[in-house]
């Protein structure tokens, strides 16, 4: 058993150098980031790191004894293979503590070229069972897998009993209702998807329009939602719109909501989960600060006294403020959600 398994790492998002420093200052054990291109699944304008920023980020985190993980979690496309392999080379050169990969071809490159580089399986690898995780372990020596947000806790536990690979779970943030890596809804509507371009429902396809029947959000012309005067608006992620199914209009796929598993902390620790991940590299440093601070406090409290752990209302209140649609859910960890 590796010591870090017991440590229960808090893995926080950084879309920029200020966000990275904020995450470190507020108690993240690991920070994850991406380069400024389509090699990662948050490929948004103005976000992410060039080489200089990445180097400074690694220096800052390492000086304080924290780790930096690099997300290279899109699927290299035929025309850009070198972009992905250079990113691997850069990760090794920068001294990244691990790279988070989804593509087997890229994993093979990494193991051959940089055998010392630690590999994590990205959630975009869609590994929902131990046979799949062990596949990546046997062939590429992955050390940790981030499991898609679709398993119930009992299923996660069953999976953990059958693999030597560490398991990292999403604890908080924007919720994918679909299995990550198995969703092409965005490219169906806009031509760009997480797998191919590192984006979902890309901002350039979004249009807001005030109409007689309300404020409308559209994605490449497709009506995703329409809001009444007193309703809160949300980003038109296409699975979180209101649609008409058999004459009934509702959130047919998922409500705009955030995953929040704070109350599951004692259970996750007992199970031996290696790390808990906070979603949101596209969010502001203020979000990163707030979420990291609350989770640091909660994890420390839970570790001090797991039996007596209770979620403080103040924590939920703080997290509620930064949640999408101001709603929170346990997602698939709680079976009736399915």
């Amino acid at each position: 058993m590796q010591p870090e398994t017991k440590k229960f790492e808090l893995v926080c998002p950084a879309g920029s150098l200020p966000a990275l420093k904020t995450a470190v200052d507020n108690g993240a054990d690991c920070v994850y980031m991406g380069f400024r291109d389509d090699t990662n699944a948050r490929n948004f304008t103005g976000l992410n790191f060039d080489l200089n920023n990445a180097r400074e980020g690694v220096r800052y985190a390492h000086a304080k004894g924290r780790k930096v993980l690099l997300a290279l979690n899109t699927y290299p496309q035929t025309s850009g293979w070198q972009r992905w392999t250079s990113a691997i080379d850069n990760a090794a050169e920068l001294g990244m503590d691990a790279v988070i990969l989804a593509d087997p071809g890229l994993m093979k490159y990494a193991t051959k070229t940089h055998p010392e580089l630690r590999l994590h399986l990205s959630v975009q690898g869609s590994a929902t069972n131990y046979e799949a995780i062990n596949f990546y372990h046997e062939h590429f020596g992955i050390r940790r897998a981030v499991v898609p947000r679709v398993l119930a806790l009992a299923q996660v536990e069953q999976l953990m009993a059958n693999t030597p690979v560490e398991i990292e779970l999403f604890g908080f943030g924007g919720l994918c209702v679909m299995v990550e890596g198995r969703c092409a809804l965005s490219s169906y509507a806009t031509g760009e998807s997480p797998n191919t371009c590192g984006v979902c429902s890309p901002p350039k396809a979004v249009r807001w329009q005030e109409t007689a029947s309300g404020l409308e959000s559209r994605l490449n012309g497709i009506l995703i939602d329409r809001y009444g005067k007193d309703e809160n608006t949300g980003y038109p992620t296409l699975c979180k719109g209101r649609f008409d199914v058999a004459g009934e209009t509702y959130y047919a796929i998922e409500e705009p909501t955030s995953l929040n598993t704070l109350e599951l902390l004692p259970e996750l620790m007992r199970m031996g989960v290696a790390a808990i991940k906070i979603e949101g590299r596209q969010r502001s440093p203020a979000y990163v600060a707030q979420v990291t601070k609350v989770w640091r406090e909660a994890i420390d409290a839970c570790r001090r006294n797991t039996e007596q752990f209770v979620v403080k209302p103040a924590w939920m209140n703080e997290l509620g403020k930064v949640s999408e649609g101001q709603q929170q859910t346990l997602g698939a960890y709680y079976r009736p959600w399915k």
Partner: protein
């Protein structure tokens, strides 16, 4: 090019399934993919029943491939998976890397469309593990495929999803049960009521997606009938038609006749219009949003 019938993505009762495959046995299809790939709760046909269908089709001269479930979560899902990969008779389409682990270096297999093979390096890797055919991800363009195939591994066939509502996404949540305010564990098998899936429209009435249990499909019907010559020139070996509740044999027939160049694609497309549950799309192949429909100028001229 060979003609394949993809796995049945909907949930039909046994009578309908058996009648469907009886008709398929008589159709001009070369390859038939069988099995439940969407949801483990759909159990009217057990694996043994599927194997019976497989034998029947095999006896009729079809190449039969058993497809594995795409989203594998539980130990019982894995048990079924192991039975399929160890069936010892029919080739298997792996739709999850867990299936690849069980098949690699044991028997030749088909690398299914959800394995996310987006580059030649990954394709080569799967070839080394024993894949002898791969199915292109639905969102890949013809231009990208062409680049992929410039370094195609030896003895590797390429298959393209060429007709049907596109399987776009998989979830742990059942959207059909959700529509009925039911939980998945108590779904009352409502999928049986929607033999072509349940259409999701925008609030201005545009058919957008199709709910099919835990799977989300396009509402529009992906149709590359007009692009078959382009597919052939790109190096595609197999075109896949996805089953629908009605007219599947007629659609296979039109694909077959077009492939044999006994009927011009423009005429086949016109005849197909009435057979499709929704308007066509073909955007993905042309590097556009999947729901786009790019009319083929050459076809328009000859029509």
């Amino acid at each position: 090019m060979k003609l394949a019938l993809g796995p049945l993505l909907y949930y039909w009762d046994n009578e309908k399934v058996n009648a469907f495959y009886d008709a398929i046995a008589q159709s001009p299809v070369d390859i038939v993919y069988l099995g439940e790939t969407v949801c483990s709760r759909r159990h009217l046909l057990r694996l043994d029943d599927w194997l019976e269908v497989a034998q029947k089709l095999s006896d009729a001269g079809k190449e039969v491939v058993l497809s594995t479930q795409t989203l594998i979560e539980s130990e019982s899902d894995l048990k079924t998976l192991r039975k399929i990969t160890g069936n010892g008779n029919f080739r298997v389409e792996a739709n999850d890397m867990g299936a690849v682990r069980l098949l690699a270096n044991h028997m030749p297999f088909v690398a299914g469309p959800t394995l996310n093979i987006y580059n030649p390096q990954t394709l080569q890797l799967l070839a080394e593990m024993g894949a002898t055919r791969w199915v292109m991800p639905v969102e890949m363009s013809g231009a990208a495929l062409s680049e992929m195939l410039q370094s195609r591994p030896a003895n590797m066939e390429t298959e393209v999803f060429a007709y049907g509502r596109l399987p776009l996404a998989f979830s742990a949540r059942c959207f059909t049960a959700r529509h009925h305010n039911l939980q998945k564990d108590d779904c009352q098998f409502r999928c049986l009521d929607y033999e072509n899936g349940l259409t999701l429209k925008t609030r201005e009435g545009q058919p957008f997606l199709t709910l099919n249990g835990i799977q989300t499909q396009s509402a529009r019907v992906y149709n590359l009938l007009g692009e078959l010559e382009e597919l052939r020139a790109t190096g595609v070996d197999v075109v896949r038609v996805s089953p629908q509740a009605y007219h599947s044999e007629k659609i296979l027939h039109l694909f077959h006749e077009t492939l044999e160049q006994r009927i011009p694609p423009s005429l086949a497309l016109t005849q197909m219009e009435k057979l499709m549950p929704e308007l066509p799309c073909n955007g993905y192949w042309h590097g556009k949003p999947g729901l786009d429909f790019i009319p083929q100028p050459a076809l328009a001229r000859s029509a």
